[in-house]
């Protein structure tokens, strides 16, 4: 079975990562295809496996990989801050808002 992916939608790195999910079930061979596409060839490890659901499962896994990449990208700055704060001896968090006193207006509430 071969599944063709348009690399203008999913980057190659993401496609290859998703291929790894299926290596326990299949032998997975990616080929370069025309028009900026990549063809992924799946060969069942078990001859009784018809791979009937594989195209759908691969498409869903690819979507999940894309979502993971999006979440990682969206939360990257926070993750780096958390790890830095965890291992750095200095305090990296911005506390101006919470450690102000009655004379300051850090959020500009009073205009």
């Amino acid at each position: 079975m071969t599944v063709t992916i348009d690399l203008s939608i999913y980057p190659l790195d993401l496609v290859l990562r998703t291929c790894h999910v299926f290596t326990s079930r299949c032998y997975v061979v990616p080929h370069a295809a025309a028009n900026g596409r990549v063809a992924i060839e799946f060969v069942a490890r078990d001859s009784s496996d018809s791979l009937r659901d594989l195209a759908g499962a691969f498409s869903n896994a690819l979507l999940d990989s894309h979502l993971r990449a999006r979440i990682a990208d969206e939360t990257r700055v926070i993750r780096e801050l958390l790890v830095a704060q965890a291992f750095c001896e200095a305090d990296l968090l911005d506390r101006r808002d919470i450690e102000s006193d009655e004379f300051t207006d850090p959020r500009g509430i009073t205009g």
Partner: protein
């Protein structure tokens, strides 16, 4: 701040209806697939149980408070504390020969006449420097261990006296 922002997490489809989400501190939660979809689109209702669960477990934040970050950083620091202390336990299994069957033992014992399961001298000779290397690396990073190492290495004429008490 209006709405909410995501905190870092990973997810895995658990079954047809639920997704397992796990965050940086190891907290986990099973989320309905529909809720996951709403959650990542920042469209989860702030009154819903899913929202409150995810907030309590640090999958999202909805205020300017730094408290969640402090707590998460502390959890990450505790979780990864082994990195600072390097490997703290080394076990050299020099032989599997044993006549006992202690239930807590980690080795698969063999009878006393099976010498071929003994560690060879060559392996033992190669293992020892690894332990020294690990100890040196740990001492390099930890001032307490460094001080202890300096104490151990003090001139022999002072050995025998007790270390000064603080």
């Amino acid at each position: 701040m209006s709405g909410y922002d995501l905190l870092p997490f990973r997810f895995l489809r658990f079954d047809d209806a639920r997704t397992l989400v796990v965050n940086e501190t190891g907290e986990h939660h099973f989320l309905a697939n529909d809720d996951l979809s709403r959650f990542v689109k920042h469209k989860l209702s702030m009154d819903s149980d899913a929202f409150l669960d995810l907030k309590a477990k640090h999958f999202l934040f909805d205020s300017d408070s730094v408290a969640p970050f402090e707590l998460m950083a502390t959890k990450i620091r505790s979780k990864k504390a082994f990195l600072d202390g390097f490997t703290s336990l080394h076990i050299f299994v020099v032989s599997l020969r044993c006549e006992h069957s202690c239930h807590y033992c980690q080795v698969s014992r063999v009878s006393a006449d099976r010498r071929r399961y003994d560690m060879s001298n060559e392996t033992a000779a190669r293992a020892r420097p690894r332990l020294s290397l690990a100890r040196t690396a740990a001492e390099d990073r930890d001032p307490g261990r460094r001080a202890a190492a300096a104490f151990r290495a003090r001139p022999s004429d002072r050995r025998g006296s007790a270390p000064p008490r603080r």
